[in-house]
Symmetry: C2
Subunit: 394 residues, 2 copies
């Protein structure tokens, strides 16, 4: 049959990188490609205990349907946590639980984007946000971005010239893919410029809890007086991703629209997983757990940077992120990271070429390196191989 797909389907192509990497699926490759947290840091023993506890004490409720909004005590914890760490003033009912923050991105598209609307984003920006928004047939305007965040004048000019601008999407802490963290001043200026043009800000913060050095910086939401900022969060990096529990937090009237959209999308999140996380947070000290994650990732970042400094050739620049899972590499202009990948794959080392993180293309001389999910010896030997391949490519 000749399937009568919706127009948007032609935009939903599987990434060519994903196809390329399929070749290596059954081989023992050293992968800097994914964004996987380190599984040895999952609180497995604690999860065994709380899983048994929840099934014992609230089994029937935990297996039944529940509300679209999500489990009350979990929503309350999230509000309290954000208020404590991010300078916000959320209440329980300002929070909707989602299937990872990825679903919050999809619901954002559903609630805000008509065909032809424009999403303004950092350059580069998070790949899966591009996929989520693209399904709503929007266009992207990449705003020039330096080490401190979007350049305010460039954002102002873009907004002045883009009447269909609907959303500004940013990851202000340890961004995926660049590792960049926005300065306090830039956060404030972003809020003010967006407010001037009545544009909604999506503040996606999957990595904010994973700061290795320096001081936490107030969220963009903390400046919000008009209700124009929505915050996305997740337990995938601080607890574990298999549960698929994230959230969106914002002005209650907007969250109600997200709730209606989620009702049609999948009714609700996994009841058992929500109750297990809530119970975990009640019984255990997540700060102690996060401290352990940070210590491990800090060590790996340091090791990665030392190794790259030693083995990457001159002319290759890379970031030194203060937290998170990723660092970002810029090669000389004439080098295409896809060609580098083809070569490094021959030696069983993979990464994601950076071009995919630019919704409007270009910037093929960039690479994203994940450093969170690898033991020291593989991290070092993988980066040494990559260094050799780069030296031969430049």
């Amino acid at each position: 049959m000749n399937y009568p797909y919706a127009r948007r389907v032609s935009l939903l192509k599987s990434s060519d990188i994903r196809e390329l990497l399929k070749v290596t699926e059954n081989r023992d490759v050293i992968s800097f490609g994914g964004g996987l947290p380190a599984p040895e840091l999952f609180p497995l023993e604690e999860i065994k205990a709380i899983s048994a506890l929840v099934l014992e004490e609230e089994g029937f409720e935990a297996l039944q349907y529940s509300t679209t909004e999500g489990y009350g005590p979990l929503r309350q914890w999230i509000a309290d946590r954000m208020n404590k760490t991010q300078g916000t003033a959320f209440e329980k009912d300002d929070i909707l639980i989602t299937n990872g923050s990825q679903q919050a991105l999809d619901l954002t598209g559903k609630v805000f984007l008509d065909e032809g609307d424009v999403v303004l984003c950092e350059s580069p920006t998070y790949l899966a946000a591009i996929s989520a928004f693209k399904a709503y047939c929007c266009a992207f305007e990449e705003i020039p971005t330096d080490e401190e965040g979007m350049i305010p004048e460039a954002l102002d000019t873009a907004l002045a010239n883009t009447p269909k601008a609907k959303l500004i999407y940013v990851v202000p802490n340890f961004q995926n893919p660049s590792g960049r963290t926005w300065s306090l001043l830039r956060r404030k200026m972003l809020y003010e410029i967006a407010a001037k043009y009545q544009v909604v800000i999506i503040e996606d913060n999957p990595y904010g809890e994973l700061r290795f050095e320096g001081e936490d910086i107030l969220s963009i939401k903390s400046f919000d007086e008009t209700g124009s900022v929505l915050c996305l969060g997740t337990f995938s990096k601080t607890f574990c991703p298999g549960y698929r529990i994230g959230w969106v937090a914002g002005e209650r009237q907007v969250i109600e629209k997200y709730v209606q959209a989620k009702q049609g999308a999948d009714l609700q999140c996994n009841t058992l997983s929500q109750r297990e996380i809530a119970r975990y947070l009640e019984v255990y000290d997540i700060d102690k757990h996060i401290a352990k994650i940070k210590e491990t990732y800090r060590h790996r970042r340091n090791l990665a940077i030392r190794t790259m400094e030693e083995f990457f050739p001159a002319g290759v620049r890379f970031t030194r992120p203060q937290g998170g899972l990723f660092l970002w590499v810029e090669l000389p202009d004439h080098v295409n990271a896809r060609d580098v990948l083809v070569e490094s794959m021959k030696q069983d080392v993979v990464f994601v070429p950076g071009g995919s993180f630019f919704p409007n293309g270009g910037n093929e001389n960039t690479m994203r390196i994940n450093f969170s999910n690898m033991p020291d010896d593989r991290l070092v030997s993988g980066l040494r191989i990559l260094g050799k391949v780069l030296s031969a490519s430049i």
Copy 2:
């Protein structure tokens, strides 16, 4: 701020029934309103055992990210099961795991529906399918339907006159809300008419495993020679709904589009839940478990029907479903079921007025009664009260 919502948001209103029922939230009402399975039938002890087993034996994998397509052994089980019970010929890779079958409905909209496309459906049809599809700004054409399914001539005429028809959505077994089961002949005719017009059929089968009497009837998919039928299924009614695990099965090239859509929507389903269900299916006998559910629901259906025959006034008709969770009540034309609900709420008995199940409105003289989730004494006393209210209303 004046939020710049997408146009579709105006279509996503929360149902007025939901609002109405909120009044009763904290009262001990007898509810025929929900579609909840009976929690006392959840295999809680078995779930305790498999949950411990999965965390012990495959904990790190079960808590990590996994593929969008879903857990291989679970997809294989679903293909085998459908082939055995529904006359299909699926392989593992024809199956995508979704967050309940509700997400399969949403992805169906995403993959097939452009604004202004038309979904043909039974009259009445499943309420949450209407919500899912509406988010893609489609129109609905209700096809006249009798006890055996859609009336073929009416469907043929509708397709001839609806150039923008994209999908035909049907629930052929123990339909929600009507309890209706399609005859074999009507299934075959539906397939043939749809094939003639090159329209996709969505065969949603959440209740098919719950037949209390009579013989299983082959699925519409079993006639499919052109790949035009997609099948939706779920573990919510045979295992438990809190896990949010359902699926869509179909031609591989179409499933690949669903996979791409799901990737942007939420990356993947809960890893742990998928592995737990797969392990449950490996270790325990789900047929034995389903037999227990069917026995209980059969008893409750019988009791409901006997009580309604005794206490509902003349002029009120209702169906006698051969399976599933629902039966359907038709009142005399001049009686509005919303008025009946307002009266019955005063006596702490609620149900869903049937008008909501007609996407184009009307039919306010109908009611949906859920009989799966209530002990005998409450079932009887609730229906007696409803009978009295009806007698006073007619």
